[in-house]
């Protein structure tokens, strides 16, 4: 029963959609009307941080401020501004913090190069440690051929005949 009623309502919705679709023309264009613009809005807003929900981009967020900012992005792009113009506009207002890709400048050098430096330091420490270990092994007293033979005998003999 449930399925049938769902199907029925879907049909009704579908029919309603087609009967109204003609009346739409001439009214405000739905957002999807300009997929090119929407793609750019999406691209720019996924580079901008939502200020009230800081681990989301304004493309992901449904916070009111994020929606307002997205509208602002759309409006600016529609009026012919470039993607960089829009990002710069936001940076002027909210600081570098709004950018998910931080710019390269002296205050962010540590952010950009820190991980690389850590890896290099880590590799260096690893190398030094390994070298030291190898040196310790090399320096340890060598066994003579006789000793080795003895070890071999001991390992391969059964407990009974070790008395010899």
């Amino acid at each position: 029963m449930r399925v049938i009623s769902k199907l029925l309502s879907a049909c009704v919705l579908f029919a309603a959609f087609f009967t109204t679709v003609n009346t739409w023309s001439g009214e405000a264009q739905p957002l999807a009307a300009d997929p090119e613009l929407e793609k750019r809005v999406e691209a720019v807003s996924s580079e901008l941080r939502c200020l009230v929900c800081q681990n989301q981009t304004i493309a992901d967020s449904h916070a009111e401020l994020a929606i307002d900012l997205k509208n602002q992005v759309r409006e600016m792009l529609r009026s012919g501004k470039s993607n960089d113009d829009v990002v710069n506009y936001m940076v002027d207002r909210y600081g570098d913090f709004v950018r998910y890709k931080p710019p390269m400048k002296p205050t962010t050098y540590f952010l950009w190069f820190g991980p690389g430096i850590l890896i290099i330091v880590g590799l260096f420490v690893l190398m030094v440690t390994l070298r030291k270990r190898k040196a310790r092994i090399d320096e340890s007293p060598q066994m003579s051929q006789d000793d080795l033979k003895k070890v071999d005998e001991l390992l391969h003999s059964s407990p009974g005949d070790s008395k010899s």
């Binding site: 009230v52 009111e64 602002q72 600081g95």
Partner: protein, 192 residues
Amino acid sequence: MTRFIVPLGIFVVLGFFLYVGLHLNPREVPSPFINKPAPDFKLSQLQDFQQQFSPKDNLNKVWMLNVWASWCVACRQEHPLLVQLKRQQSDLEFFGLNYKDRPEDARNWLAQLGDPYKFSLVDMDGKVGIDYGVYGVPETFVIDKQGVIRHKVIGPITPSIVKDCLTPLTQLLQQDTATDAPEMKKVMKACA
């Protein structure tokens, strides 16, 4: 001996960073507007839509632009202080920016709780808010005689902010104190 010094050193450094982190507020985004001209706008006054206001009208005046809304809980928290300041005729002159609010709600709010503002401006769609980099209400901008933003308070104003920051800062700005004057630096430190 070094066996202990190295882990201890790492621990101390890590502890230091974590300790500093305890006192930082990740929600506080420093405004890049400090020492930049206040963005221009033209908005209607809340109590009289015919009257328009632009920040240029306030040149040669030290003033505060307080962003508020009737739906904002923290605004309710700071409001009595602003009303009290107005009653005491303090030097601080507050102009309201009614952010993303319904004018009738805003008027009711002021009628109920008192109106501490010279007047409030209607920013219904939040456009001016975006232009000023507002991301939460309340926010308060201190604007000097040249129309330059000198300080921004994020969150509700408290008596200690008024006493240690806003009042001395306003006084210094009224005397056209230079940015790098020692007393100005001292006040800005108290504001930070």
